[in-house]
Amino acid sequence: MEIKKSVISILASNKPDVLARIAGTFSGRGFNIDSITANVTGNPRITRIIITTQGNQDTIIKIEKELNRLVDVHQVTDLTSLDLPLREMILIRMPMTGENHEKIMEIVDRYHGEVIETGSGYGILELTGKKEDMDNALSSLELLGIDDFVRTGSVTL
């Protein structure tokens, strides 16, 4: 069966150990998490966790069932087949000197990003977009000398 990237959205109780339970279910049952994002929803008692993972359809169904077994998990949805827009964010710190400034801005503009902080020759860029676009943006910017970057997991709605 075909192995594909899957996106699972979880609504769970907003409790301190809920992430540990979910992460533990993945590791204990032999599944992998590619990326994970979590934050509280409009209802402060509930948190939404979006996990990207890989596997064939059987594996994804098994993951869903195992997650549904957790008492603190309210709802598990496999969003993969819905083909929803997935977005992730990167913050990049890199030198922004006169020489590469223009090149950097060209890339930032191409991906509709912005420079959110500058000072003493350094800038912090914020980019949001599809995973593939973010991969491309990162590799273009790496040529210009990235100091450090941080990348979120995917979110979707």
Partner: protein
């Protein structure tokens, strides 16, 4: 009026109709034990090791169908329960484990007797809680009981910091309403049941395979009605023994690695396998690719995770077993789905298999362990509650004691926990003081929780321990004999240990038999003695459990020893 946390806890336990607790005190729960001193109507059994407490609660739960309760202190008290929690989780047994915890402000500071027990037990419990506020305590206890017994049952741990037990709350502010997330919606089962009925009507070689879910779901009488409605033979997993009468003509005995020849043959040749409340453990299926190769499979289980996890089913009914069987029967509308005529040929074939390779053993000058169990069955007329340890003793108990009644076979199935049998017997005996409770043990296993004999004596619990003493860790030795060139690496228990004296030292009665002709007398005397009795049977040291499906082989690939009676 103000209530202390300890009082709230007992109030909540009372509301859950708890009257029995197995436990062990310590620093973090000393306030709770002080409150227990004033409590009436709750009987606490002081075990000798916390593992004993959790297994006793487990045995109590299996024997009664109620939620078992165990209470221990923080740190080592809590960690000592972990094996018992994993054991109950593997066998889906409803127990609530109450652990003390260091005071809230000390958590995370490596305090004396502090461990992160919710972290430790997260993967081996159905759920657990760390109570952070006294306001949450009463509700949390109720939620723990609800979770333990609802759906697929399991162990739930509640960790309670000392300051919460010591704290107070106005009674008017005590709210106990359960506040749990909604359960996943139940899938409608009518369509699946209809598909199952169609499948059943066209089958001619059906087998019903019952598991622990039939017992936990109290579906024993429905299973019997259903089996009669389709004239099918019935086999069971170790956990399902007692779900169908062991003396019934259509009973096949246990399935799997040490299952009967005819159960394994029947499943391997059937055209329809109806699996009820099972999860297809690897000790049952052996090589999955060769499991029930000719059969359509109908799988009934309450836990969606069990469906298609190991064995793919053609029809799956995700439901409580009783509800599913009830629905199937009501949809059949009293009609006989398969007549005796329709399965006659199949049942005749099974009779041939039964005659060809019955469960048997050869007599010799030494005591045969199977003989001890046969005699025990005879003398107790099959009416005892049997617990077991793990290994050969467990398999012989499963094979040679015929269980006619539900919840009379109490054994560690999924986890295979040596040391389970004695404390579990104590739990069962507490639940049923007037019944005969017998732990069938090996000389290895019994030593893993032997200290609980002191508990039995302390409370005048007349549990009987039957030790099949072969001087070996017998099951491992059997594997070494069969698959490791008889290299008995670390399985010989050369011991000067005198179980009779040991029993006497504990204040119990010790008896011994070393010759076959002594067996009956020792059993008779032991069973008649209204005290805790340990019976030491010196059995044939190198006896094997047969049949044995070779690890990784299909179910028809059985080593039969000298069981075979005629060429088939």
């Amino acid at each position: 009026m103000k209530l202390t946390g300890s009082q709230i806890l007992f109030k909540a336990l009372r509301e859950e109709k708890v009257d029995t607790i197995f436990g062990y005190p310590g620093g973090s729960v000393i306030d709770l034990y002080d409150e227990l001193f004033h409590q009436e109507g709750i009987k606490h059994y002081l075990v000798r090791h916390e593992q004993g407490a959790v297994h006793a609660a487990d045995g109590y739960a299996r024997a009664t169908g109620k939620v078992g309760v165990c209470l221990v202190t923080s740190g080592p008290g809590a960690t000592n329960t972990v094996t018992g929690i994993a054991n109950a989780y593997a066998d889906s047994i409803p127990i609530v484990i109450l652990t003390g915890q260091v005071p809230t402000h000390m958590i995370g500071k490596d305090a004396f007797q502090e461990v992160d027990i919710t972290g430790i037990t997260r993967p081996c419990s159905k759920h657990n809680f760390l109570v952070r506020k006294i306001d949450d305590l009463g509700r949390t206890i109720r939620e723990a009981f609800y979770i333990a017994h609802s759906g697929r049952p399991g162990p739930v741990l509640v960790d309670i910091p000392k300051d919460i037990l010591q704290g107070t709350l106005e009674e008017t502010e005590l709210f106990m309403e359960i506040h749990l997330p909604p359960e996943p919606p139940k899938e409608p089962i009518d369509e699946a049941c209809a598909a199952a009925l169609t499948m059943i009507r066209t089958a001619r070689k059906p087998v019903i395979f019952a598991g622990g879910g039939v017992l936990r779901g109290k579906a024993v009488s429905e299973l019997m009605t259903f089996a009669n409605c389709i004239h099918a033979p019935v086999t069971a997993s170790l956990m399902g023994l007692g779900a169908f009468p062991g003396t019934h003509p259509r009973w096949l005995g246990m399935l799997g690695m040490h299952g009967t020849y005819y159960a394994n043959m029947a499943v391997s040749h059937c055209d329809l396998l109806i699996a009820v409340g099972v999860r297809f453990d690897d000790r049952v299926t052996s090589k999955v690719a060769e499991f029930a190769p000719h059969a359509k499979i109908i799988h009934i289980d309450i836990d969606p995770v069990s469906i298609n996890k190991i064995v793919k089913s053609h029809v799956s009914i995700i439901s409580d077993c009783r509800e599913a069987l009830h629905r199937l029967l009501s949809m059949a509308g009293g009609e006989v789905l398969l007549s005796a005529d329709q399965t006659r040929e199949w049942l005749e074939q099974i009779e041939k298999w039964k005659k060809a390779v019955p469960l048997s053993y050869c007599r010799s000058a030494k005591i045969k362990p199977q003989y001890v169990i046969e005699k025990l069955y005879e003398l107790t007329r099959g009416e005892a509650i049997i617990t077991t340890e793990v290994g050969q003793n467990q398999m012989w108990a499963a094979q040679f004691y015929r269980f006619d009644h539900p919840d009379t076979f109490i054994s560690s199935g999924g986890l295979g926990t040596m040391g389970f049998g004695l404390p579990a017997a104590i739990g069962a005996q507490v639940a049923f003081p007037d019944r005969l409770v017998v732990d069938i043990a090996g000389d290895g296993s019994i030593q893993m929780n032997i200290q609980e004999l002191a508990t039995a004596v302390h409370y005048n619990l007349p549990v009987k321990v039957v030790i099949l003493n072969n001087g070996f860790l017998g099951m491992v030795r059997q594997w070494q004999e069969m698959f490791y060139g008889r290299r008995y690496s670390q399985t010989e228990m050369k011991q000067a240990l005198d179980f009779v004296k040991l029993a006497e030292a504990f204040g119990a009665v010790g008896l011994r038999a070393t010759k076959p002709e002594e067996v009956e007398e020792v059993l008779r005397k032991g069973l008649e003695t209204p005290r805790a009795v340990m019976m030491d049977f010196h059995v044939e040291p190198e006896e094997q459990v047969y049949p044995m499906v070779s690890p990784g082989a299909g179910l028809t690939d059985m080593k039969l020893g000298n069981l075979r009676r005629d060429a088939d």
